[in-house]
C-alpha cells in the first residue's frame, strides 16, 4: 500500500522539474543559430548613394544595426547611442552600418536627419538581408568581429553598458 501513497508525489516530480525549467527560460529569447558563425554577406545601396557591403568591411569590427522609422520607441531610444558610439570609436577602426527595414523612404530619411546619423545606412529592398540575418523585429544589432563572425546578437534597444562592453570586446579581438 505504501507505493500507492508515493505514486502522486513521484508523478509530480517530472512535472515540477519541467515547470522549473520552463519558467526559468525567457520564452522571448530565441537563440540565433548564426552566433559564432560567419556573417552572411550583403551588398546594399545606401541612402547617400554609396554602396555598403560586408566584403568591403572585412578586417574591421562591425556593429550592424537593423532599424525602422516606425519602430517606436525602441529604435528612437537607441539611435543617439549608435551615433555617439560611432563618433567615439570610428578612429579606432570600428565600423557601423544601419539597415532600414520595411520602411518608407521619406520616413527613413526623416529618421536619419532627426538623429544626424553619419555612419552609412541603407534600405533593405525585399527584406533579403534581414531574412538572411534571421531578423525577427527591430531593433536588432549584430556585433561582427574582424574575422567576419557574429560575436553577439542583441534583440531590442541597446543600453550604453552593453554597447560599451561589446564594442570593447570587438576592438580587443585580433
Amino acid at each position: 500500500m505504501t507505493w500507492k501513497k508515493l505514486l502522486i508525489p513521484l508523478a509530480s516530480v517530472p512535472v515540477i522539474l519541467l515547470l522549473a525549467y520552463g519558467f526559468r527560460t525567457d520564452p522571448k529569447a530565441i537563440p540565433s543559430p548564426l552566433v559564432q558563425k560567419l556573417a552572411p554577406d550583403f551588398r546594399l545601396k545606401a541612402f547617400d548613394g554609396g554602396e555598403v557591403s560586408l566584403a568591403d568591411l572585412k578586417g574591421k569590427p562591425l556593429v550592424l544595426n537593423f532599424w525602422a522609422s516606425w519602430c517606436y520607441p525602441a529604435c528612437y531610444e537607441e539611435a543617439p547611442l549608435l551615433e555617439a558610439t560611432w563618433k567615439r570609436y570610428k578612429d579606432q577602426g570600428l565600423m557601423m552600418v544601419g539597415v532600414d527595414i520595411q520602411d518608407k523612404e521619406a520616413n527613413a530619411r526623416e529618421f536619419l536627419q532627426r538623429f544626424g546619423f553619419t555612419f552609412p545606412n541603407a534600405p533593405d529592398p525585399g527584406s533579403k538581408v534581414s531574412i538572411d540575418y534571421g531578423v525577427y523585429g527591430v531593433p536588432e544589432t549584430y556585433f561582427i568581429d574582424r574575422q567576419g563572425r557574429i560575436a553577439y546578437k542583441h534583440v531590442g534597444a541597446l543600453t550604453p553598458a552593453l554597447m560599451e562592453a561589446q564594442v570593447q570586446s570587438l576592438l580587443k579581438g585580433t
Partner: protein, 164 residues
C-alpha cells in the same frame, strides 16, 4: 518582270502571315500549360510556406500571415523554388537563419520525439488508469452492501412492532 516580282511579294507576304498565325496559335494553345506551371509554382510556394512560422506573428504560418515580413519570405521561397531548390533545401536555409523555431512542426528526431510521443504515451497511461478504476468500481458495487447503523435498524424494528 514587274508582274513576276509582284507575285513573289504576295507569296512572301502570305508566308509571313502564315508564320505569324502559327506562332499566335502556338502561343495561345500553350496558355493552359503556362497557367498550370504557374499554378504549380504557387501551390509549391504555399506548401513550403505553410510549414514555416511567421516569426513576427502569433501562431501563423508564412503562408497565412498578412505581415510584410511573411510576404517577403514567400517571395524568397518562390525565388528559391524557381532556382530549383527542393523543400528540404529551402527549409534548411530558413533553419540556418532562424533556428528550428521557424519550423511549425518540430522535426521528428532527438529530443523532439518527446513532443511527438508524449501525448500518445499520456493517452495510453490515462486510458489504462481509467480502465483499472472503472473495473474496480464495477467489481465492488454489487459485492458490498451498505452497512446499516444498528441504532436505525433497532428503531425500524421497534416501529414495525408498534404498528402491529
Amino acid at each position: 518582270m514587274s508582274r513576276r516580282r509582284g507575285r513573289w511579294a504576295s507569296v512572301r507576304q502570305a508566308a509571313w502571315w502564315l508564320t505569324l498565325g502559327v506562332a499566335v496559335l502556338l502561343w495561345w494553345s500553350a496558355a493552359p500549360v503556362r497557367a498550370a506551371t504557374n499554378f504549380d509554382l504557387e501551390d509549391r510556394v504555399r506548401e513550403i510556406a505553410s510549414e514555416l512560422r511567421c516569426v513576427v506573428c502569433q501562431n501563423l504560418s508564412v503562408a497565412d500571415s498578412p505581415s510584410d515580413l511573411a510576404k517577403e519570405m514567400r517571395n524568397l521561397v518562390r525565388e528559391q523554388v524557381q532556382q530549383g531548390k527542393n523543400r528540404e533545401e529551402i527549409q534548411a536555409y530558413f533553419v540556418s537563419r532562424y533556428g528550428e523555431y521557424v519550423l511549425l512542426s518540430p522535426p521528428k528526431r532527438g529530443f523532439n520525439l518527446l513532443v511527438w510521443g508524449l501525448p500518445f504515451l499520456a493517452i495510453a497511461v490515462g486510458g489504462g488508469a481509467v480502465y483499472l478504476v472503472v473495473r474496480r468500481w464495477t467489481e465492488q458495487a454489487p459485492a458490498k452492501r451498505p452497512a446499516i447503523d444498528p441504532a436505525y435498524a433497532e428503531r425500524v424494528q421497534r416501529e414495525l412492532k408498534d404498528r402491529e
